[in-house]
């Protein structure tokens, strides 16, 4: 599944422009969007996840302009990608209820035991197997972040878009998550992940990742991590350092 942004602008009402003339095609398996706070990372991710309609410009999915498709076609495309929010939201019920929510919404008639086993297996990988029957409000922010990622992973999307996925994780959990994401994209040739982060170590820890540097709503630089490790990346490091992030 190829997503292409053509000259995209995004404006929050009444007049705050968050993205300016962004053209980007998600062709790589691992794309990392980096940039300081308020640079437009989350907005770009929400546009890529097809939740936000651009103010100007087009979004092409394959050869079709997504926002010109009918509702049914849009839904079919939207179900192939999942966006995971930086501050995850949970419904009432247990962790397991939350992980299975996507199946319930999509009315997927898979074997219930099979789905539960899959969910429990993922919880086990992230060391959260004991939380399955606990209510999310009793868990830590880091655990909730992982659970929201598991909720997306269990649906096996073609494109997984993660907003600051490591923001509340310790080093060990971050390692487990990144390792799992590497495996996830390797398992199936059609799978891609897009991560928005200000954690500059992520592009270095994920092999062959393609980095997009955003600044003030514009793409300041892009390329494979070793290509942009020079000037632009260093400049970004300095900006983040000054901002204390």
């Amino acid at each position: 599944m190829n997503i292409k942004l053509v000259d995209v602008w995004y404006k929050y009402p009444p007049s705050k422009i968050a993205l300016r003339r962004v053209s980007l095609e998600i062709t790589e398996k691992k794309t990392i969007i980096v940039g300081p706070n308020a640079s437009g990372k989350t907005t770009l991710l929400k546009i890529l996840s097809l939740m936000y309609k651009p103010w100007k410009g087009a979004i092409l999915v394959g050869s079709k302009s997504y926002w010109e498709l009918d509702e049914k076609e849009q839904l079919a495309i939207r179900r192939r990608l999942i966006y995971v929010h930086e501050k995850p939201v949970f419904i009432r019920g247990t962790v397991l209820d939350n992980i299975l929510l996507g199946f319930k919404i999509r009315k997927i008639n898979l074997n219930k035991h099979e789905i539960i086993d899959k969910a429990l297996h993922l919880l086990e990988i992230f060391g959260l197997e004991k939380t399955a029957n606990i209510k999310p409000r009793n868990l830590s922010t880091g655990q909730l972040q992982l659970i929201s990622i598991i909720r997306a992973l269990v649906l096996e999307p073609d494109v997984l878009l993660l907003d600051e996925p490591t923001a509340n994780l310790d080093i060990e959990k971050r390692k487990i998550l990144l390792r799992y994401l590497e495996e996830y994209v390797k398992k199936n040739s059609g799978r891609k992940i897009v991560i928005a982060t200000h954690d500059l170590l992520i592009p270095l820890l994920l092999e062959d990742s393609y980095v997009v540097v955003l600044n003030d709503g514009r793409i300041a630089s892009r390329g494979y991590v070793d290509e942009i490790l020079g000037y632009e990346y260093e400049k970004l490091f300095n900006v983040l350092k000054k901002k204390g992030t």
Partner: protein, 215 residues
């Protein structure tokens, strides 16, 4: 001091009338609040400003306004609704609408984006997203409706002006209390006042319990 059948009848009538009024008001307040939250524009602020200003409107003014509309020479006089329980229901529903819209708008404003986004990211259609949003907002909706009910059951102006305090027909707790005070029957007035407070507290407690169970 004893509870006679008339008092019981008044309590049941009060709960029925105010309950129906709250239900009626919810029929337009919930969709309207949702629409205002989801189609945000500059006009939304104006509309909300209008509703916020009307929250504290004196009940007697609403009663007077409705009396003029429903009286025989008024535009809706042909309906013959004046001095009927239906007139009180309509009046109370109108009275609590600004309160419901203001509180529901605030509540939906806080929760819409997060649940709507959650549903969409997990592959929901707009209809499924709406269903998830409403289900998750149910405890807040219940609390707002309870506040609306409390305002409706405790008001006097509308019930007196468009209900007429007719014995066995439109007499509710507040109008009965007012009448007993005028008659100098303070004991009965206090008894009814006690029931009014108990009713409101009882319903409030049970809805809060229900809300806790749902959460």
């Amino acid at each position: 001091m004893f509870v006679d059948s008339e008092v019981v009848e008044i309590i049941i009538r009060s709960i029925t009338i105010s309950g129906t009024a709250t239900f009626l008001a919810s029929l337009w307040s919930i969709p309207l609040s949702f629409l205002l939250v989801s189609r945000y524009s500059k006009i939304t602020n104006l509309i909300m400003g209008f509703f916020n200003a009307l929250v504290g409107v004196p009940t007697v003014v609403v009663g007077l306004f409705l009396y003029m509309i429903l009286s025989r020479s008024g535009p809706l006089g042909f309906l013959g609704m004046l001095y009927t329980p239906q007139a009180i229901m309509l009046g109370e529903a109108i009275l609590i609408t600004p309160l419901l819209v203001s509180l529901l708008y605030e509540s939906f404003h806080r929760t819409r984006e997060k649940y709507w986004e959650l549903a969409l990211t997990l592959g929901a259609s707009d209809r499924q997203a709406l269903k998830l949003f409403l289900l998750q907002s149910l405890p807040e909706i219940l609390v707002v409706l309870l506040l609306g009910f409390s305002r409706a059951i405790g008001e006097l102006g509308v019930a007196l002006l468009v209900g007429g305090n007719i014995k066995g027909y439109t007499r509710v707790m507040t109008t009965a209390i007012s009448l007993e005070v005028v008659k100098g029957e303070f004991e009965k007035a206090l008894l009814l006042g006690g029931f009014l407070i108990t009713t409101v507290l009882g319903i409030s407690t049970s809805i809060r319990f229900l809300k806790g169970r749902i959460e």
